[in-house]
Symmetry: C2
């Protein structure tokens, strides 16, 4: 059973919410509940801690309010379903939840209480925020993506068994990172010394075949593109365990976006900001300045797209970037030269060069903040 930071189970938290509503009704008071606003104006970049999070603007959902009563009722229905899932010990997705809502609410009331999933999704976030939980704690799995190998073990309590997974014994496949890396799962014997996050699965496979994680005593992760919640969360947890985090992506708009999302979180997950952001992460490459150091890369560049150039220009205006000259130099160089560079290009001279590149960058502390 999951326990949140405040040491209460999700089951108990939902019950407390329900009980407070019932108390209000019995008292003849207007039942309501409070969450934090997830509007743009309440999403702030926390400069001290280095990630996107919600500000303190509260929103109240009240039952006795014509414009809110339907939404209030829907929220209670979502909470009741999640309570059931947690009690049953069964998981589904936000789509599965939506179908359950449609199924059972259609029976008691004439009106179609939920006609689109876009109605139930924000209510889940309301509850996550109001109860200081993540949806995974409510037995709602998110899309999963991402793979891991390295010197650590996982104890996955699954189907009433304690399944032990040795992340040095996953062969060509690696361990597929699940949606929920907090509940009924433990990461033990983390003997690796650092974490390297590789944007592309192709490069992860290349490094895995070279047993890079073994030779370097590292945890080798790929988010397989943009990082899913589970992958962002496990990176956070490994940073909490004291491991330095290095991120290795293409030198283009998409690669930078992947890095910034891992590091500072994202607007749509600002409501669980600190749990899925890793401000300690460093950017290892590839960089535009690699073109000076590795001569051969100059014939392996690609034309930057309009999206790349536009994004680079936008990034130059970020307050955070302005503080870091190294990033300004990178961005300006791309804009001026109109070329970009893929991590795959490091395979040019020989397939095993990719690992040597990473090794040297880390050894020489050649990374960006």
């Amino acid at each position: 059973m999951a326990k949140s930071k405040d040491n209460e189970t999700p089951e108990k938290k939902i019950e407390d919410l329900g009980n407070s509503i019932v108390r209000d009704i019995k008292k003849g008071a207007n039942p309501k509940f409070t969450t934090l606003a997830r509007t743009r104006s309440n999403i702030i970049f926390d400069h001290k801690n280095g990630y996107l999070r919600l500000g303190s603007t509260k929103e109240e959902r009240s039952f006795v309010n014509v414009s809110q009563s339907k939404r209030f009722m829907q929220t209670m229905a979502v909470a009741a379903k999640c309570h059931k899932f947690v009690k049953e010990g069964l998981h589904t997705t936000i789509r599965g939840l939506y179908y359950q809502l449609k199924f059972s609410l259609g029976e008691d009331v004439d009106e179609n209480v939920f006609s689109e999933q876009s109605e139930s999704n924000p209510l889940i976030e309301d509850i996550e925020v109001a109860l200081s939980l993540k949806r995974e704690d409510l037995n709602l799995n998110a899309n999963r993506k991402g793979v891991l190998a390295g010197n650590m073990r996982i104890i996955d309590t699954f189907g009433n068994e304690k399944i032990e997974i040795d992340c040095t014994k996953q062969g060509r496949s690696g361990w597929a990172i699940p949606s929920d890396v907090d509940n009924d799962i433990e990461f033990v014997d983390i003997k690796a010394k650092y974490v390297i996050v590789v944007e592309k699965d192709a490069l992860w496979q290349r490094l895995n075949e070279d047993l890079f994680w073994k030779k370097e005593n590292a945890i080798l992760i790929t988010p397989q593109g943009q990082a899913a919640r589970g992958t962002r969360r496990i990176i956070r947890k490994l940073a909490d365990a004291g491991l330095p985090i290095y991120v290795f992506t293409d030198s283009d708009a998409w690669g930078w976006y992947i890095y910034w999302t891992i590091k500072t979180g994202s607007i749509n997950l600002a409501y669980i900001g600190g749990d899925v952001a890793t401000p300690e992460a460093r950017f290892l490459g590839v960089t535009m300045s690699d073109l000076d150091k590795y001569e051969f890369l100059n014939k392996l560049t690609i034309k930057a797209s309009e999206v790349d150039l536009k994004r680079a220009q936008e990034m130059l205006n970020y307050e955070w970037i302005k503080k870091h000259k190294e990033w300004e130099v990178e961005l300006e160089r791309m804009i001026k030269s109109r070329i970009k560079l893929e991590q795959d290009a490091l395979q040019g001279p020989r397939l095993t060069f990719v690992g040597d590149y990473i090794r040297e960058k880390i050894k020489n502390k050649e990374y960006l903040p």
Copy 2:
């Protein structure tokens, strides 16, 4: 080391190709090599065997031919690189190969021998076809996707170790299906009785949590959408091992496409047709006729999109469909009612209903051809 059907290693096959070219040159003959045409007109549906494959139209690539000599030279460069990868025992992707070509050919010749990856990709297929190999045999990994659980073991020879993976002990994650499921990997102790392929990872996770594969003694696979080469290939291999294959998708254009691709292969992989098609596969659901059997589904339908309707109309013209009244009924029903149905909707009454649905369908042999 990989061995193909004709019991020769890829390394030897490439060497034989190279030697024959050298012989031609020494003789003063025009060096050439022969492959099968991959043009639309040479892609045929093999009615006897039930899958898409190439016909017998041959294409000759000749060196002493102004329009072909560059391509001929490029093909030899691709073959030489693959030979090196196989000899080194190292893998990359077609993108990694492209960068190697760009790197080393740029050194010896002035001209940019490869300026786009779209130039090297078809040459890889030429070689696959000419040598009766798959690119995985040439140490070129394709994108991977797909997850598996169930009563079987995998012996993955990886990093000079024999890694043993018990597919009943993969917990919430499952075993991530790699690109290459043929070379240096074995599937042993397949004790499961059938294979169920579930379109969506979300539903796979649902069934995995219910230990469906254990209770039913099945192999539970999700391609995570459209099936990648590795997933198509492992389904083929499990069918070869004598297991019936059931496919479970949404009742919509995309779901049907996923099914047909698993069953009959696809146009772009027609050149390795029989290796990645499983004509024995059966379609379990969801079906439009489920609406009659499961009353509750009627309130969980979705509006069909224009793409769904157009695709359904096209399918009605397929020769194969015309032979199967059951499919005609399905397609016509969607076109007439303009609604579709997702597999997720089966979670409406209770989360565990999904497994009961599959069980009952198989028990009653309610599947489409």
